[in-house]
């Protein structure tokens, strides 16, 4: 098991290096320089020239890349132009919000999707199956931002059950009430995300269970005289969860990247909203840092998926 994980991590190292190189070169390819906007427009061009030289911006690109990487390892991603704050601190405060939102959404998604998929597959071709199928098609075909806008309108404005902006109430007392307020703020976007993000898990699970039901090893189990209930418990369910488990890693990081819609509609101060704002303000340091983080998150997602898979599936362990 550990061998598999270790090998997987080793493979990740060159991936990260290539990713960082790409991100760095793309950032370099962007027009403009970091100083023109922040110094007096009437100042001497020679002074700007001096600043560029001082900051090593005339060095060859590999020298600059090396410096950037060294800074990266010191946790120094530069300053945001928009917020005049170190990028690390800025992203750090936003990341916590996004992670909580993604976690709750993931948990709720599986809570809705697993029973639905099992139920549909058990009653394949019958009424419950058709209802679940229609449900997944409908939720899949409605654009998610439409769902968010309608959801926020019904539950936020008309019914007034949930807050519509922010991540925490300004008047909440520190401690437990603050945590409660945080939860209260992510509840609506998470529920909406989970209700409308079930299609992958439900359809995967449904088709896996249906395949497993007809598989030879289930027939073997039947010929052993194992009751149907236990066949589902011991043979079908676990085997059908394999692709879902493999998918879990991706889906968690996918949610971290994909929260841009949710955070924009709910004005929720997470990484997605920060990303959109930074693009609007051409806040290059933040954009570069976020692109790098999103890239690494995706790599981590595949790593996580592979680790989960090697835990549940003995066939891909290296002995």
């Amino acid at each position: 098991m550990w061998k598999t994980v270790l090998r997987r991590i080793m493979i990740m190292i060159p991936e990260v290096i290539i990713l960082s190189l790409l991100v760095f070169l793309l950032a370099k390819a962007m027009p403009g320089d970091p100083f023109t906007g922040s110094i007096n427009p009437k100042s001497d061009p020679a002074q700007l020239h001096h600043l560029m030289e001082m900051n090593g911006l005339y060095d060859p690109w590999y020298q600059q890349y090396w410096n950037w990487v060294v800074h990266l390892f010191h946790g120094n991603l530069g300053n945001s132009y928009q917020y005049q704050e170190p990028v690390t601190r800025l992203i750090g405060s936003r990341a916590v919000n996004t992670i909580w939102l993604a976690l709750l959404t993931t948990v709720l998604t599986y809570c809705f999707a697993l029973p639905m998929g099992m139920f549909a597959a058990k009653h394949e071709g019958k009424l419950p199956d058709n209802i679940v199928r229609i449900y997944t098609y409908v939720t899949y075909s409605i654009p998610f931002f439409v769902v968010l806008v309608i959801g926020i309108w019904i539950f936020g404005y008309v019914l007034g059950w949930f807050p519509t902006t922010g991540s925490v109430s300004a008047t909440a007392n520190p401690g437990l009430p603050t945590a409660g307020s945080h939860l209260y703020h992510i509840l609506l976007p998470s529920i909406l995300g989970a209700l409308f993000g079930t299609v992958n898990v439900v359809q995967y699970l449904r088709s896996e269970v249906i395949d497993a039901k007809r598989s030879d090893y289930v027939r073997t189990a039947r010929s052993k005289g194992v009751p149907e209930k236990d066949i589902y418990k011991h043979h079908i369910f676990r085997n059908s969860l394999l692709p879902i488990a493999a998918f879990a890693g991706y889906s968690i990081t996918g949610l971290l990247n994909g929260s841009i819609f949710t955070e924009t509609v709910f004005s929720y101060p997470g990484m997605g909203l920060l990303f959109i704002n930074s693009i609007n303000y051409r806040d290059y340091t933040v954009i570069t840092a976020l692109v790098l983080i999103y890239g690494i998150l995706n790599l981590l997602g595949t790593l996580l998926s592979d680790i989960i898979l090697s835990i549940v599936d003995p066939r891909i362990r290296i002995e």
Binding site: S215, D216, Y217, R219, T220, A221, R222, S223, K224, G225, V226, P227, E228, H234, H235, R238, N239, L242, V312, D313, P314, R315
Partner: protein, 337 residues
């Protein structure tokens, strides 16, 4: 042979599958008996209903997609009258089944030990420790060299032959009276085939079990079986002892099958080929001899209108009367004279 009582009586069994809302017979009017200490081989080409018969006996068909009639009398119980829970008392305990494809018949996520002991969990009161010992004993019995190691392994770590041995171990774990082996050697190479057949024979003589051996390999039949039932298009067309079937085959289909086997003393380059195809379920004619379209040179009046089984000598039965004057077209002259 101490007991020759027939303990499995299949009487007039039909199994029909639902295709586009209509039922079509996959096997029709099957009558068979199996005795203790005997290997009954069922032979026939692909699609003739051999495996359907096996899964019908095991009750492995989805009742919403199949219609089964007739009677399967097993040690005094009509299996077809049982509900799911009742059937589960027989499956695994009194009837064991060995499947065709050892590569897919084992659960890929469970250790061999768990897969073998599972059958004992439902049919015996053994403790975990006793089950563990029994698993090792079984693995040894089916010829696994290092039972301890194998018990701890997963199916993908074993070869095809070893997996088939594991499946046999599962089938015999509770010492069943009847073992149904559905093409147990088809997926294996010839040397392993012989070993697997040896294992089957050994188990049979130890447990006094009856074995139904389903195969399309006539070599395996000649080597292993005591009695043979030849199936064509869902019907039994000839039944008899191995000697009767191989030495004095009667039915045109049996004769065609035997003739299409490569033989050492036959210097002909061409093998005999049976004309045409097995009809699909939907196209199967309800009346007349089902094999008639494939021996078109036989005149219609030589077939029975509704072919039945005729006993021609004790234990040797053949369907239809067309066998009486049957000869192959290239041999017409020599036989008629």
């Amino acid at each position: 042979m101490e007991t020759t009582s027939d303990f499995l009586n299949i009487k007039d069994v039909n199994t029909a599958f639902k295709i586009n809302g209509k039922y079509y017979d996959a096997i029709s009017h099957i009558n068979l008996t199996v005795h203790h200490d005997e290997i009954l081989a069922i032979v026939g080409e692909s699609g003739c209903g051999k495996s359907t018969l096996a899964t019908t006996i095991m009750g492995l068909h989805d009742p919403s997609e199949t219609k089964i009639s007739g009677e399967i009398d097993f040690e005094g119980t009509n299996l077809l009258k049982l509900d799911e829970a009742g059937y589960n008392k027989f499956r695994g305990a009194k009837i064991g089944m060995i499947f065709q494809d050892p590569l897919s018949a084992l659960n890929p996520l469970k250790r061999i030990e768990d897969q073998i002991s599972e059958v004992m969990t439902y049919h015996t009161k053994l403790t975990a420790e006793q089950k563990h010992d029994r698993v090792l004993e079984l693995l040894k019995e089916v010829g696994i060299v290092d039972p301890k190691r194998t018990a701890h392994q997963f199916p993908h770590q074993l070869s095809g032959g070893m997996r088939q041995r594991v499946i046999i171990a599962i089938a015999i774990a509770c010492k069943p009276d009847l073992i149904i082996a559905d093409e147990p050697t088809t997926a294996l190479d010839v040397t392993i085939q012989a070993q697997i057949l040896d294992v089957l024979r050994k188990i049979q003589s130890e447990n006094h079990a009856g074995i139904i051996l389903i195969t399309h390999d006539l070599g395996v039949v000649a080597e292993t079986a005591d009695r043979v039932a030849v199936m064509y298009a869902g019907q039994i067309v000839e039944e008899g002892s191995v000697e009767q079937i191989f030495n004095t085959p009667k039915h045109p289909y049996t004769r065609s099958l035997l003739r299409s086997m490569p033989q050492r003393d036959n210097q002909n380059d061409d093998l005999y080929v049976i004309q045409g195809n097995v009809p699909s379920l939907q196209k199967m004619s309800k009346i007349g001899d089902r094999f008639a379209p494939r021996i078109p040179w036989v005149k219609p009046e030589e077939h029975e209108e509704n072919p039945t089984m005729h006993e021609i000598e004790p234990g040797h039965e053949v369907r239809c009367t067309c066998y009486k004057n049957f000869s192959f077209p290239d041999q017409v002259g020599s036989v008629k004279a």
